[in-house]
């Protein structure tokens, strides 16, 4: 039996189960796999966290370096988010320049961090128009069993939450100080399986899926980012319902990422 046929049969089965509100691994449609965030995994980073959602594993590391503000935001530091979907993490990833799906992951995570004003970029400005801190959020996917965006978002938030400004390394001050994190956005991703919309899809569910929506919420009741992806369609009512579910999951995920 070819891989294509096997995949087709598996997808059909997943959709059949979904019709009955069931999932292959026994979860309900609104249930996440086990979620863990382990901060401080990499000591060479100025902040780091390993996030696990089921078998999906994503590592994020923060680096802060002296930089120069962008001309149009002279009073703000610079934030750069980069996701590497390295071929180590999945048979579906190939070496080479960043694939659009890697770019999408990094941009959706970046958008939530930026829009939520997770870190106050103004505080990263040293001399307006001249000197600032550049904050790099690097995301390294290690094991891809589905739902990369949520895992990447948790890893990034976990890494930022525990990051320090390396003032000592750059001879700026005697001591490092914590990077001030002001807000805590988390992404929550939904996948359509027929008329059922499940949260935290596995890799196989993503392949069977008919559209994906990610909703990032903050701790104050705001939606800070959304992204519809893949082939499929959602009604406005679907979106409203997913948003409410995203807020419910958000509180728990946020607590895990912050380690509180």
């Amino acid at each position: 039996m070819s891989d294509e046929v096997t995949a087709e049969i598996l997808s059909t089965h997943i959709l059949d189960l979904a019709r009955q509100g069931k999932r292959l691994d026994g979860r309900t449609p609104d249930e996440y796999r086990r979620v863990e965030v382990e901060p401080g995994f990499v000591v060479t980073a100025d902040g780091s966290a390993l996030a696990r959602i089921g078998d999906t594993t994503v590592l994020s590391g923060i680096k802060l370096e002296p930089g120069k503000p962008y001309p149009d935001t002279p009073n703000a530091g610079v934030l750069t988010t980069n996701a590497e979907l390295i071929p180590l993490s999945s048979p579906t990833f190939e070496p080479g320049p960043p694939h659009p799906r890697a770019i999408e992951v990094s941009r959706v995570v970046d958008r939530a961090i930026r829009a939520a004003e997770t870190i106050d970029l103004k505080k990263l400005c040293v001399t307006p128009g001249e000197k600032c801190w550049s904050c790099f959020v690097d995301i390294h996917v290690l094991d891809h069993s589905g739902n990369l965006i949520d895992a990447a978002s948790l890893a990034a938030l976990g890494a930022l939450t525990h990051a320090t400004l390396p003032q000592k390394r750059f001879g700026i001050a005697e001591h490092d100080i914590p990077l001030a994190v002001a807000h805590f956005p988390v992404e929550c991703t939904f996948t359509r399986l027929g008329e059922t919309i499940v949260v935290d899809a596995t890799f196989d569910e993503e392949k069977a899926g008919q559209g994906r929506v990610t909703i990032a919420t903050d701790e104050a009741g705001n939606i800070v980012a959304m992204q519809k992806g893949l082939i499929g369609a959602f009604s406005p009512e679907d979106v409203k319902e997913m948003a409410e579910r995203a807020f419910r999951h958000g509180d728990r995920l946020r607590a895990i990422a912050r380690g509180v």
């Binding site: 935001t73 939606i223 959304m226 992806g229 409203k240």
Partner: protein, 253 residues
């Protein structure tokens, strides 16, 4: 959005509640759609929307390049959303940046959600969107242009795809942000609607929108899309009115 540390926020509503360009909160900017302006493409459209100028062309269904992307049971949609170097205030280096690549991806997925792809296995429908002059809302203008170009190329689809952004400006929801509103607003929520099913196939959002505002924002966007839909249909009617079917086929190729 994204203008942290930038200059002071200007006043975005007049005392009459109208916007800086005189529009009501739920009013679209002027929109002009021309179907079939290009001769080489299998289908094309030119959209002037506010101060945006966007050209779209469609080629296909045709052989897939690169070959390994080919799918046995359906056509794929490949999209390239590109901004001309001179389309923005500060010259943009030629080539696709990360933003353009992300937009290309979500637009391709939006169209792949409405095209009858199974009818053309092992082919590609190539959608090219060129932003010639940008002034907020180029991705929606691109979707509108590409959708008319797809129809002009005769690609079978469930429906046309009107698209528009809803934004939050000075605490209020408004339709179809202009550049000033985009720069200083609190949220931007572009979307593309399948009028026939009432479902969204493209949706992105960035900024701050309270959970209580989402429903109203979506409703405003859907209503806006329905208005745009009429203009899209009219543009296609005009195209055939000017050149009857037989002749237009030639002109479009």
């Amino acid at each position: 959005m994204g203008n942290v540390g930038a200059k002071e926020i200007p006043e975005l509503f007049g005392p009459d509640g109208l916007r800086t360009d005189g529009r009501r909160p739920d009013e679209l900017r002027p929109l002009k759609i021309t179907a079939g302006p290009l001769h080489q493409a299998d289908g094309s459209a030119f959209v002037e929307w506010g101060f945006n100028k966007v050209m779209a062309a469609v080629y296909g269904p045709r052989e897939v390049h690169p070959r390994h992307l080919q799918e046995n049971h359906k056509a794929i949609v490949q999209c390239r959303y590109n901004m001309a170097a001179f389309s923005v205030d500060e010259r943009k280096r030629p080539g696709l940046d990360r933003r353009s690549q992300e937009i290309s991806k979500v637009i391709a997925e939006a169209f792949e959600s409405v095209i009858f792809a199974e009818e053309y296995p092992r082919t590609s429908v190539d959608v090219y969107i060129e932003v010639l002059q940008a002034n907020a809302g180029t991705r929606c203008a691109g979707v509108v242009a590409a959708s008319v170009a797809l129809a002009d190329a005769g690609i079978p689809m469930v429906d046309l795809l009107p698209a528009v952004a809803v934004g939050k400006v000075g605490g209020k929801l408004v339709l179809d942000l202009n550049k000033l509103e985009d720069n200083f607003g609190e949220a931007d929520l572009p979307m593309a609607l399948v009028p026939q099913s009432g479902r969204l196939v493209l949706m992105q959002m960035e900024g701050h929108m309270h959970r209580d505002e989402l429903g109203q924002a979506l409703d405003m966007g859907v209503a806006g899309c329905r208005g745009i839909y009429e203009k899209m249909k009219a543009a296609l009617r005009d195209r055939y009115a000017v050149a009857p079917v037989g002749a237009s086929t030639g002109a479009a190729q």
